[in-house]
């Protein structure tokens, strides 16, 4: 069986293996370093890693806020609040950034990693 392998084939095998290892490390590692802290009514509702893309429905007094986590960024994509400030705030990327939907008492804060500044106290 091995006689069917030519020298270059070993090279291809090696390159393929290295590529596989590299892409596995690139995709699967470096996950839970940064997390999104989701609060509802002042209490921590959930703490989710940014490494996994997902949508989280958070119940509040006015209704359900939908928080989207995608590409290591988080945002509030839907909220029943009248002025939609937290929705318009857009994507949160760095640790310390926070989006708060006031009437609905829902907030998303990014934690972990190097905290550049606290957007509440800045």
């Amino acid at each position: 069986m091995l006689r069917h392998l030519r020298p270059g084939d070993y090279l291809t095998l090696l390159a393929g293996a290295l590529f596989t290892v590299w892409i596995s490390l690139a995709v699967w590692s470096g996950g839970a370093a940064e997390t999104a802290l989701i609060r509802s009514g002042g209490k921590v509702f959930r703490e989710v890693p940014l490494s996994r893309d997902q949508q989280i429905e958070v119940p509040g007094p006015l209704g359900t806020s939908i928080i989207t986590i995608k590409n290591r960024k988080a945002r509030i994509s839907s909220d029943p609040s009248p002025r939609q400030y937290c929705v318009r705030q857009g994507w949160l990327q760095h640790a310390g950034e926070i989006a708060i939907c006031l009437p609905n008492e829902v907030s998303v804060e990014l934690t972990g990693g190097a905290k550049r500044y606290d957007s509440l106290n800045y």
């Binding site: 069917h4 020298p7 270059g8 291809t12 095998l13 596995s24 995709v27 893309d53 997902q54």
Partner: protein
Amino acid sequence: MRIEDQVKSGAPHSARRSILAPQSSILLDTTAEDHHVAKMAAVALGLTVLENAIPSPLPGVKPGLANIITLIVLSRFGWRAAAWVSLLRVVAGSLLFGNFLAPGFFLSLSGAVCSLAVLALSLHLPQRWFGPVTDSILAAFAHIAGQMTVVYLWLIPHSGIAYLIPIFAIASLVFGTVNGLIAASFMDNGGKADSERQP
């Protein structure tokens, strides 16, 4: 060996058909190469059906046995014939499984097209150093790359599918190597060196 047998058993009955054909029927002129492509595509189709009976842990992770045929045809009859066999297998296979023009069909097609594109390039690698195993591995990676692109652009536009890439990459590497070795051993048994490979 089995492939050789099947090729022989499907002997040409084109001559007979032309006598029996009714006047109104249209007879296409077919060359010996057409017949050969059709036979090889039929064998590839058989392997596709066989492969579908094998349970898979993850949708999309398949050994791709039909590509053994593509590799053999590539080596013996050149890229054009290999492209015919591969694309005929995709189209006929989709008709067989009833998913013609369904997402699954386009996934197969994109994989086949990308593989063929890469095989067209890998043909130019020096024969002395690179054999069917290299072709097979490169084609397997191209196949999955093409499929993932279609999945991302069309079916699941979500970066979450990136998490499946390592699994597919491992499968490509393993099955690409195995298929390449099988193809190489078939060509060896045929007693023909693949130095006959046409550009």
